[in-house]
Symmetry: C2
Subunit: 180 residues, 2 copies
């Protein structure tokens, strides 16, 4: 989840681009003076799950930057060729090696500063065998009173966990949106 570098060269022909506002547009884009290609840059989706087992939630300890050593829900960038739920399932497999059923979309959060939209799905675990991949140091279950709130990697994860345990107490899971 690194910051994106500015576009300097045309993706079609390699010529150095200019930042100008194209006709019929409202904002500057990287435009190629040789072939005319206009390069758009748009927000990215980060998709993940809230894997749960009885009164516990599965978190992964990050083995990568940013936030090395902090705890997170399994999540990552949505790829072409998959739906939001398929991406969330793939990340859960890659980061935790956990076995889940895919439930409904639970949270959608805009992180405007970094140009990202984060979405988390509820995902009941079908067993408690985990097999964390190279991006995770460890994957384990936490009851609410065990959650390391000061060592949660991202605010979107903290907000999603808070809503999860609140809704669980209420006995009814909703859909939560938030702008950060």
């Amino acid at each position: 989840m690194t910051e994106r570098d500015k576009i300097k060269h045309c993706r079609a022909c390699g010529t150095a681009v200019n930042y100008i506002v194209p006709p019929d547009d409202a904002r500057p884009r990287a435009v190629c003076p040789a072939c005319g290609t206009v390069h758009y840059e748009n927000p990215l989706n980060v998709v993940g799950t809230v894997p749960y087992w009885q009164d516990q939630v599965l978190l992964c300890k990050r083995n990568i930057e940013p936030r090395f050593g902090f705890w997170t829900l399994p999540a990552g960038f949505m790829e072409l060729g998959e739906t939001t739920a398929q991406g969330a399932a793939r990340e859960t497999d890659e980061e935790a090696g956990a076995h889940i059923q895919m439930g409904p979309l639970f949270s959608l959060m805009n992180v405007m500063r970094v140009g990202q939209v984060h979405m988390y799905y509820l995902a009941p675990l079908t067993d408690t065998v985990f097999n964390p991949g190279p991006e995770s140091i460890e994957a384990r279950l936490f009851r609410e009173d065990e959650i390391p709130w000061d060592e949660i990697a991202f605010r979107t994860v903290r907000e999603t966990l808070k809503h999860y345990f609140e809704d669980r107490r209420k006995g009814a899971f909703g859909f939560h949106t938030l702008d950060l």
Copy 2:
């Protein structure tokens, strides 16, 4: 909403890229043999509204391809520097010149074939003065029995309209997800 062209040159240095699977990755990416930049391509978000007034919904007749002359809800690509709801409001202003209050997220639909996620917000109109922009031939209100179902531009729009009128009859608006 055109198809994206394949990346041929490095955005950082202009060198012709190779498509290879980078180390610790699972799929081919455009990788620069000169500077090592890895180019990721990800799904895009299309954000819009269901602007409504009493028992009517606002549709725009498209003045652009694709689907020139067909009817659509106001929607377009989410930009950097805005939230999903802000993007939906901007598109509603640009395409219809309509005055709305922003309501809750109503539908989220994966259109995997084109690498897009479409989201529509409920948006009560505050008046019935419209001022369609250059992308629209016309903007007008339709009651359910007036909707030109065979001239709706996109399936995501048709599905969102169907859910809108169903929920309206029930007297309760939900949140709807769908994979197309």
